[in-house]
């Protein structure tokens, strides 16, 4: 249901995040209303009137302790364990089932101060070959096809944020992080930088264009001239191996501690 609270969701797993929000709102909302109701009632009922004396209790009687710890346990079970379980389930849906390298579109994104350098493997499907396609701020993906994005950064920490897909991942220099998504609705959406990266942080806007079909995507890919410098070799091979059965992370760690930015344009 689109309640206008969130931007329109075009991700196949985005609804899970929204539902988690509404569950949390329900649980914390009930707790909040109970607190406010008790607060309001006590303020009205027990106002200081002449001749009225408060009930003398230190709240450490056996009954008081039972009530307090009982309610606290209730809060723990009803809210904490409940939310933790549903978050665990939601995590497995959103992050736990990465697509296989064969069917997914692989994209490398290397943000630098105030622009997104985006790199496709090109028709041969292998990175750092002459047919790679690099664009700036233009991420085109075919609809209904999983996309794996690998992130690193040339200078400071940026954060690759796709609000309509309910997903975000920091691009950290010297480290390769990754995320994946699948768009289910064509259209043009925003890419934003969510981590403060300098005075131009507010204008690091990119465009996520979900093409109607694979052919439209391939057509767009073919006509792309290499806007970014093709020799912008980002010096790291595709680090994500085929997903493990259990989906636990732990692909082999990236190559040598510090990237050898062979040929990187610094």
């Amino acid at each position: 249901m689109d309640t206008g609270v969130f931007p329109p969701n075009i991700s196949t797993t985005g609804h899970v995040v929204d539902q988690l929000f509404w569950l949390a709102t329900l649980l914390t909302g009930v707790a909040f209303l109970l607190i406010v109701a008790a607060l309001g009632y006590f303020l009205l009922r027990y106002r200081s009137r002449p001749g009225r004396r408060a009930y003398y209790t230190h709240g450490d009687s056996r009954g008081a302790i039972c009530v307090t710890s009982g309610l606290a346990l209730l809060v723990f079970l009803l809210i904490d364990v409940n939310l933790a379980y549903h978050d665990h389930v939601a995590w497995a849906v959103v992050w736990g089932a990465p697509p296989s390298a064969r069917e997914a579109l692989q994209v490398e994104i290397m943000p630098e101060q105030f622009a997104w350098n985006i790199r496709y493997a090109g028709p041969d499907g292998i990175f750092r070959t002459s047919d790679d396609v690099t664009t700036i701020n233009q991420l085109h993906v075919p609809v209904n096809r999983p996309v794996i994005v690998q992130l690193s950064s040339k200078d400071v920490i940026h954060s690759f944020f796709l609000p309509n897909l309910r997903i975000k991942m920091d691009a950290v220099p010297g480290m390769v992080t990754s995320l994946y998504f699948q768009a289910k609705q064509p259209g043009t959406y925003d890419i934003a930088c969510a981590e403060h990266c300098g005075f131009g942080h507010y204008r690091m806007r990119g465009f996520l264009v979900v093409e109607e079909s694979a052919e439209a995507f391939n057509a767009w890919l073919a006509e792309q001239t290499n806007e970014g410098s093709p020799d912008l070799s980002w010096g790291w091979q595709w680090a994500v191996s085929a997903p493990r059965a259990s989906g636990t992370p732990g692909a082999h760690p990236p190559s040598a501690g510090a990237r050898a930015w062979s040929g990187g344009s610094t």
Partner: protein
């Protein structure tokens, strides 16, 4: 001011004084000055977000002559960095830890002064030097620090991306402030643990002092961790090292960017509990005083504070769910963070228990205390949203997080600060604050505050990123830009309503009605001496016979409360 100080020179008595009461007042006024400064910065930030790049009325020409009175992209990051740094370290910490701690601890404990008076004086002057460095960073070429008050690593640690000396001065200012807080921490822990008056066992300690004690413990443990991180950032900037630099920016290999975030947030999360613990203690005490009823579940509250003090040190990972930290580690941090809601629930139950069947007096400090209970209910519960790993991936670094921590910091801690000032002002200055102004101040602040921060959370749900200077460039934010305008005016309302408070303080300093020794009929030791108290508080160390919250004692005929120093309390009181 304390008229009874013995015949020392003006400088020894008011400026370089080792008397904890004078130091507390110095902290109070310094903190209030920076509170105002941080508030003005907040208004500038809101103006920029409401009307991007348009000239600022009134002070625009003076602030930004170069750009015709409008803000420039370079200045905006400086504003939110200084707003965060000033509010956390130079406004709230001096008032809550400096003024509340310095003034109440010796008085409530029954001591003549702090354990180490000279160290106490030194701690104030380290704060002043630190704040001078901080303000100097505005005047340095290249401007003030611009990497956020969290100073994330490559941006803050490399002079290629953050040139100029503003960043270094900001870090040095924070380091000096850290030394000042540590000196205060040593004093608070030693005074509370070692100098309690005879009879004042730990079970009879006022809750405010428990809050200050745990806050000082957390400060002593975790502040040095961020101090080491700050020094490493300084080395990265000026000595060519690369502890936190990686990728093309790094002069040599081996630096770890995530290490800085771990070190910072290892301190960062305990820091927010450092600020809220004194407020919890104060709320516990004031609810009891104004409900004329003993605090409900005193020991449960103290144990919950201990549990939270321990838990606060092992949950920092929830700040780093999207930072590339390992998701399995993230899950562990998520569950630890969620369990913090259990001791917090116990707090709320004990607060409500204190109000239950009490005889509630709605004085101004009581209103602010109830305000804390209300806004901390929202602040605390929205914390659960940020703890959920999957949902935090969406709302991390958006205005939802900003709304959450402003509800807990800029609302709960701010109302706690006002409750402290309205409650203790008669004791400190010997004059009452004007109640009418106080009621107006509470009413307006409460309305505007909830308007500002709840709308912030709504913006965050819509994906509005934090720390951006101009949101109109984004398509998905166009439908919510009008909320930014609303926020701007609500923030202006909040800012103007604080004028009532500053006027009230200045007016009451000189023209407030003279206050008796115990204006609120409170039970703790501090209220047994005159207001303002004599220079060395107690001629002979007082003896304590009962807990601080002996109100509504049934067997009493005249009056309904027993002071801690009242000998007959030994028989009548129960705690």
């Amino acid at each position: 001011m304390s008229k009874t100080l013995s015949g020392q020179s003006f400088w020894r008595r008011y400026v370089f004084s080792t008397n904890h009461k004078v130091i507390a007042v110095q902290y109070l006024f310094t903190g209030m000055l920076f509170l105002a400064l941080g508030g003005v910065m907040a208004l500038l930030i809101r103006w920029q977000l409401a009307y991007p790049w348009q000239p600022i009325p009134f002070i625009g020409q003076w602030l930004f002559p170069g750009s015709g009175g409008a803000m420039t992209p370079e200045v905006y990051p400086m504003l939110f960095t200084m707003h965060g740094g000033i509010m956390v370290f130079f406004a709230i910490t001096p008032i809550l830890l400096g003024a509340l701690g310095n003034y109440t601890i010796p008085l409530e404990v029954g001591a003549r002064d702090m354990a180490f008076p000279r160290l106490n004086m030194l701690s104030y002057w380290f704060l002043v030097v630190g704040s001078v460095l901080l303000l100097a960073s505005f005047l340095v070429p290249g401007g003030a620090a611009g990497s956020g008050w969290t100073l994330y690593a490559p941006l803050s640690a490399s002079t290629e991306v953050t040139p100029g000396w503003g960043q270094d001065l900001f870090i040095l200012g924070l380091a000096l402030d850290a030394v000042s807080i540590l000196m205060g921490g040593v004093n608070y822990i030693t005074t509370i643990m070692q100098l309690r008056a005879p009879g004042l066992t730990l079970r009879r300690l006022p809750l405010t002092l428990w809050g200050l004690f745990y806050s000082a413990v957390l400060n002593t443990l975790w502040l040095p961790i961020v101090a080491s991180a700050l020094f490493m950032v300084l080395c990265d900037r000026r000595l060519g090292t690369a502890f936190f630099l990686a990728g093309p920016l790094a002069p040599h290999a081996g630096g770890q960017v995530l290490l800085y975030q771990h070190l910072f947030w290892g301190f960062g999360h305990p820091e927010v509990y450092i600020l809220i613990l004194p407020v919890w203690g104060l709320v516990g005490d004031l609810l009891s005083v104004f409900s004329r009823k003993p605090a409900f579940g005193y020991q449960a509250t103290v144990c919950s504070m201990l549990v939270i003090t321990v838990l606060s040190g092992i949950v920092w990972g929830h700040h780093m769910f999207t930072s590339g930290m390992n998701p399995l580690v993230g899950k562990a941090f998520m569950f630890l963070t969620i369990t913090v809601s259990v001791p917090t629930a116990i707090f709320f139950l004990n607060w409500l228990g204190t109000l239950w069947r009490g005889a509630i007096r709605l004085t101004v400090p009581m209103l602010f205390t109830l305000g804390v209970v209300f806004v901390f209910a929202i602040g605390g519960l929205t914390g659960l949203f940020n703890a959920l790993q999957t949902f935090d991936v969406y709302i991390h670094d958006t205005y939802f997080v900003v709304g959450h921590f402003h509800y807990t910091l800029a609302a709960s801690v701010l109302f706690g600060t006002f409750a402290f000032i309205y409650f203790w002002f008669p004791k400190i200055f010997g004059r009452h604050m004007n109640a009418r102004l106080g009621y107006w101040h509470f009413g307006l602040s409460f309305v505007f505050l909830n308007a500002v921060f709840s709308v912030m959370m709504f913006l965050g749900l819509h994906g509005h990123m934090r720390r951006i200077a101009d949101a109109t460039a984004y398509e998905f934010l166009k439908p919510v830009q009008h909320w930014n305008v609303f926020l701007g005016w609500a923030a202006l309302g909040l800012g103007l309503s604080q004028l009532l408070f500053f006027i009230n303080v200045l007016y009451s300093l000189f023209k407030g009605a003279p206050a008796p020794a115990n204006p609120w009929e409170a039970g703790s030791l501090a209220w047994t001496v005159s207001s303002p108290p004599p220079e060395h508080n107690y001629a002979t160390p007082p003896r304590v016979f009962c807990g601080p919250h002996e109100y509504g004692v049934p067997s009493l005929t005249n009056g309904d409360w027993l002071s801690q120093a009242d000998p007959q309390a030994a028989k009548l009181a129960r705690s």
